[in-house]
């Protein structure tokens, strides 16, 4: 499959701070690439350099084999969604999209299609400022789709949304990826959130790419068990004696297991603990976060 976006040895500095340090990345057609990292990892800078919004200090950035900073045609088939949806505040959405559709040489049917697709029907005559947070993000997605792009680049598109809206927006990304065979780059600081939607994950920290791979390769068999119980410190002692690494946060015990065998052993041990009279309110297996992946 062809590489639609190519970054080679890209470095970007803000004064003395190196935001991107010799970063190389390729995004293939049809992929949903998640760029994950804590705040300050360089995700937004990577996205902005890729779009030509920021100048690179070193390296090569190519979108469709063109440098987006100097060649505007590189941005012809790209839709962009920023962290904070940012359309002109006072203009009705339909009117704004109408102007944008002319920039991309699309007709009015395209506007109707994307408004239906993102679920904004009925709100299209409102101004951007009159929309709810979720609707604003949907309007931003509609705007990104107007170009009938081959690539969607979304910089933390769910960070300002509640969990329900987050899932809806991520499902929408999955839908447009499948229906339109779009390549999607999505950045997030929450790994579990993008695990289910991405086909490839890039993990960044301090301006460097630390890992790139498919979700299963990245997560491997690491899982985190969250145990809610009456007496966490007694259970902690038992688990530690049996060789489990854990920590207590907010009264919950978090146990990290690296393979399914160890997870099974943990669950058996918990069962024994319950039989011995310890009260356990609940146990959940949750996806690992970035830190656990990097440690593990």
């Amino acid at each position: 499959m062809e590489d639609l976006i190519v970054l080679e040895n890209v470095t970007k500095r803000y004064g003395k701070i190196t935001a991107l340090n010799d970063v190389s990345l390729k995004v293939k057609k049809g992929e949903i690439m998640a760029i994950v990292g804590p705040n300050g990892a360089g995700k937004s800078t990577l996205i902005k350099v890729s779009l030509g919004l920021l100048r690179k200090d070193k390296g090569t950035v190519l979108i469709f084999n063109k440098d987006p900073f100097y060649d505007p045609s590189a941005r012809e088939k790209i839709g962009v969604i920023f962290e904070r949806p940012s359309l002109p505040v006072s203009m009705p959405i339909i009117e704004f999209l109408s102007h944008v559709s002319k920039i991309y040489n699309k007709d009015f049917n395209t506007i109707k299609e994307v408004i239906d697709l993102v679920g904004l029907k009925g709100s299209e005559n409102k101004a951007f400022s009159q929309l709810s947070a979720g609707q604003r993000q949907r309007a931003a997605i509609a705007h990104a789709l107007i170009a009938e792009p081959e690539i969607i680049i979304a910089d933390e598109p769910t960070s300002n949304l509640d969990p329900v809206e987050r899932n809806k927006i991520l499902d929408l990304f999955l839908k447009i990826n499948k229906e339109r065979d779009l390549t999607i780059i999505i950045s997030s600081h929450v790994l579990p959130e993008v695990l289910r939607v991405s086909s490839k994950i890039t993990i960044m920290k301090s301006g460097k790419i630390l890992k790139v791979g498919e979700p299963d390769d990245i997560v491997k068999n690491i899982s985190i068990s969250r145990i809610r119980c009456k007496d966490p410190f007694t259970i902690k002692d038992v688990l530690e004696k049996n060789g489990f690494s854990l920590n207590i946060e907010g009264g919950n015990i978090y146990v990290k297991t690296e393979d399914s065998e160890k997870t099974s052993k943990l669950l058996n041990l918990i069962s024994e603990i319950v039989k011995n009279g310890q009260q356990i309110y609940g146990i959940e297996l949750i996806e690992p976060g970035i830190e656990e992946i990097l440690e593990g």
């Binding site: 902005k48 779009l51 030509g52 919004l53 920021l54 100048r55 505007p72 045609s73 590189a74 941005r75 012809e76 790209i78 962009v80 920023f82 904070r84 949806p85 940012s86 359309l87 002109p88 505040v89 006072s90 203009m91 704004f96 102007h99 944008v100 002319k102 920039i103 991309y104 040489n105 705007h143």
Partner: protein, 246 residues
């Protein structure tokens, strides 16, 4: 095709640039101001009408441009609308021209144009004697506004901070006019002709007025403001095209 795309973006940005209420308030203010000045000022020639009305309006227009350029442009960057513009398949040069058109050129044409029309109607017996002379004065004031506007827009682009841009813009404007006043004062007190000429040339409307009234003026005075404006404008376009980041 590129022009069509740029035109659409200009229409989007104009919506924001000319949105009520501040622009409308300024428009009412300058129109009223020009009406009052037209009645009060004893003028007998079209260039004198231009000077009497547009001098005060230029001051108001410059302040408006300074504040709007600094706050609006920085807002565009901070709210993420400017990054959005830069993701469109439109060259940075064209985007810089669109921003200049919607944030400086068009507002100054309207803010200087409406008072000119008001004065033209109210003082038609005077202006009607030679409309082209009145128009030439108007263009001189418009070019002067472009000089100030290009300082403001350059400051906003470079600083990307509302406060800094406003301070630099206002300081730049008053610094420029104060320099002109000091040069004129020193030139007249010490009878240094070149200083008086430089002071005169810093307001394009001065040599234009002199020439239209048959007063002998060095030709170079006509070129000072347009040249400074062109240099600042080109610097702005080059900066936006090659260095501007959001």
């Amino acid at each position: 095709m590129s022009l069509k795309k740029s035109w659409e973006l200009a229409l989007i940005d104009l919506w924001d640039s000319l949105r009520p209420p501040s622009f409308d308030i300024m428009l009412i203010l300058v129109a009223t101001l020009s009406g009052i000045l037209s009645v009060l000022e004893p003028v007998t020639t079209p260039p004198a009408v231009g000077n009497a009305v547009l001098g005060a309006v230029l001051f108001v227009t410059s302040l408006y441009l300074a504040l709007r350029a600094s706050s609006d442009l920085v807002n565009l960057v901070q709210t993420g609308v400017m990054p959005l513009y830069l993701t469109y398949p439109i060259s940075r040069r064209n985007i810089s021209l669109i921003i200049y058109l919607t944030r400086v050129l068009l507002p100054s044409i309207i803010l200087l144009g409406i008072p000119a029309i008001v004065a033209g109607i109210m003082l038609y017996p005077v202006v009607g004697k030679n409309i082209s002379e009145f128009l030439i004065m108007w263009i001189a004031y418009l070019i002067q506004a472009q000089l100030y506007g290009s300082i403001f827009i350059l400051a906003s682009n470079k600083s990307k901070s509302t406060g800094t841009a406003a301070v630099v813009s206002i300081t730049g404007y008053f610094g420029y006019t104060a320099t002109s006043l000091i040069l004129a004062l020193v030139g007249s007190i010490d009878n240094i002709k070149i200083l008086t000429n430089i002071a005169n040339s810093m307001g394009l409307y001065n040599p234009v007025y002199d020439i239209l009234n048959g007063i002998r003026t060095p030709t170079w005075e006509i070129f000072v403001v347009p040249v400074i404006f062109i240099v600042l404008f080109i610097t702005y376009v080059i900066y936006f095209t090659r260095r501007f980041e959001v």
